[in-house]
C-alpha cells in the first residue's frame, strides 16, 4: 500500500475562479461584498435601503441569488442600478463560476461597488469563496440570539454582523447583548450594526460602515498600485 500526498483544497476549482475574480476586482478597483443570511432575514430589504440611499450616479451593481424566481431582481431594479438575478435552479449557494458567468457582460471598469446577495442559507454559502473582499452576515431578531453559536462558520468568516428588524425588539424575546456576545465569542472583535430596514433606524451606521469600507478599499488599491 502506498500513500500519495494530495495536499490541496477540495474546492480548488472554485477557489481558482474566485482568485481570478478577486484579481479582476482589484485591477478595476471594485469593492465586492457577499451578503449571507438565512431566508427572510432581510438581505433584499437591506439592499433596497442601500440603493435608495446611494447617489443615482454611484457606480454600483447587484447580483442577487435565489433558488427560484426573479422576485429579488425585480424589487431591486427600480433603483436604476444594474441588477442581475442568479437563479440557481436548486443549488443552495452561489459559487464563483456563477459569479463569473453573470459578470461576463458587465464592464468592471464602470463599477466601484458590487453587492452580491447570496442564496438564503446560513451554512453552505460559507464554504464558497466568490472573490469578495468581505462577507457580511445578516441576522434578524426573530431568529434567536444563539444563531452565531449554532452556525459558527459564517459568523467566523464575516467581518460585519448586520442585526436587522430591531423595530420588532419590543415584541420578541431577543437578547441583543447576548447575540452580540455570542457573535464575538465565535469571532472576537466582530463589528456589529443594528438596523431596521422597515423604519430606517440604524441604517446610517450601516451606510457609514459601507462608506468607510469603500474608502479603505480605494486607499489600499492606490497603495498597492504605487
Amino acid at each position: 500500500m502506498d500513500r500519495v500526498p494530495l495536499e490541496r483544497k477540495v474546492l480548488s476549482e472554485n477557489d481558482r475562479i474566485a482568485a481570478e475574480l478577486r484579481g479582476q476586482f482589484q485591477e478595476h478597483g471594485v469593492l465586492c461584498l457577499n451578503l449571507i443570511s438565512s431566508p427572510g432575514s432581510g438581505k433584499t430589504s437591506l439592499l433596497e435601503r442601500t440603493l435608495e440611499a446611494l447617489p443615482p450616479r454611484d457606480r454600483v451593481a447587484v447580483l442577487t441569488g435565489d433558488i427560484q424566481t426573479e422576485n429579488d431582481a425585480n424589487r431591486l431594479k427600480r433603483f436604476h442600478f444594474p441588477v442581475k438575478q442568479i437563479t440557481t435552479g436548486g443549488t443552495c449557494h452561489l459559487d464563483a463560476r456563477m459569479i463569473e458567468r453573470h459578470l461576463a457582460d458587465w464592464r468592471l471598469e464602470d463599477l466601484d461597488l458590487l453587492l452580491i446577495e447570496n442564496v438564503g442559507n446560513l451554512v453552505c454559502p460559507s464554504s464558497y469563496d466568490l472573490g469578495e473582499a468581505t462577507k457580511v452576515v445578516v441576522l434578524s431578531v426573530t431568529e434567536g440570539e444563539d444563531k452565531p453559536l449554532k452556525y459558527p462558520s459564517i459568523f467566523f468568516k464575516s467581518d460585519l454582523l448586520v442585526l436587522n428588524k430591531i423595530d420588532l425588539l419590543p415584541y420578541v424575546p431577543f437578547d441583543i447583548a447576548a447575540a452580540a456576545e455570542n457573535a464575538r465569542k465565535v469571532h472576537p472583535g466582530m463589528e456589529i450594526v443594528k438596523v431596521s430596514c422597515l423604519t430606517g433606524n440604524g441604517l446610517h451606521e450601516w451606510m457609514m460602515w459601507l462608506g468607510e469600507r469603500r474608502l479603505a478599499h480605494k486607499a489600499l488599491l492606490q497603495k498597492t498600485a504605487s
Binding site: 494530495l6 483544497k9 477540495v10 474546492l11 480548488s12 443552495c92 453552505c124 465569542k185
Partner: protein
C-alpha cells in the same frame, strides 16, 4: 445540507461524470456536501490518471470544525456517487481539525474549546485563528493494480 430535488434542470451545473448513477447525478448540484464529495472524487480520478498501474483504496480529507461541512452528509453523498462505479470500494477517511489560535502577546498556540479564544497562558484576548477552516484533500492510498484491491467491483 439542503437536499432539494426540484425535478427541474439546473441552470448551472457540470456535465454528469461517467459511471455516476442517475440518482447521484440528480443530487449532485442540489446538496452542499454533494458538491464537496464530487470534488473529492474528481481529485481521485485526476490522481488515478497520474498513477495508471495502481488502484485507489482510500482517500483522506481534512475538515476544519469551522468549515460548515456535515461529516455524515459528506459520507452519505460520497457513498451515493461511488456506488455502482469502478470506485465502489473506495474508502473516505475524514480527519476533523479543531480550531486553533495563536496568541499575539506570548505566541502560545492552543485549541479553542467552547468558543473561548482567550490565551490559556497569558489570558490575552489578542489571539488569531491559525487553523480550523480546512477543507483539504490530504492523501490517497493506492494498491498496485491486480493485487489485493478487495471488494473492487467492475462495471464491465
Amino acid at each position: 445540507m439542503f437536499p432539494v430535488e426540484t425535478g427541474l434542470a439546473p441552470s448551472v451545473g457540470k456535465a454528469a461524470n461517467a459511471g455516476e448513477t442517475r440518482q447521484a447525478a440528480s443530487l449532485r448540484e442540489f446538496m452542499h456536501e454533494m458538491g464537496i464529495a464530487n470534488s473529492v472524487l474528481e481529485a481521485v480520478r485526476t490522481e488515478m490518471a497520474l498513477h495508471p498501474r495502481t488502484y485507489p483504496c482510500k482517500v483522506g480529507v481534512r475538515i476544519g470544525e469551522m468549515a460548515a461541512i456535515d461529516q455524515d452528509a459528506l459520507r452519505f453523498c460520497f457513498e451515493a456517487i461511488i456506488q455502482e462505479t469502478d470506485l465502489a470500494s473506495l474508502e473516505l477517511g475524514i480527519e476533523v481539525c479543531p480550531r486553533r489560535h495563536r496568541c499575539q502577546v506570548c505566541g502560545r498556540e492552543f485549541v479553542v474549546r467552547n468558543y473561548d479564544s482567550r490565551c490559556p497562558q497569558c489570558a490575552s484576548l489578542e489571539t488569531t485563528c491559525i487553523s480550523g477552516d480546512e477543507l483539504e484533500l490530504a492523501y490517497l492510498e493506492v494498491e498496485e493494480d491486480g493485487s489485493s484491491a478487495v471488494g473492487a467491483k467492475s462495471t464491465q
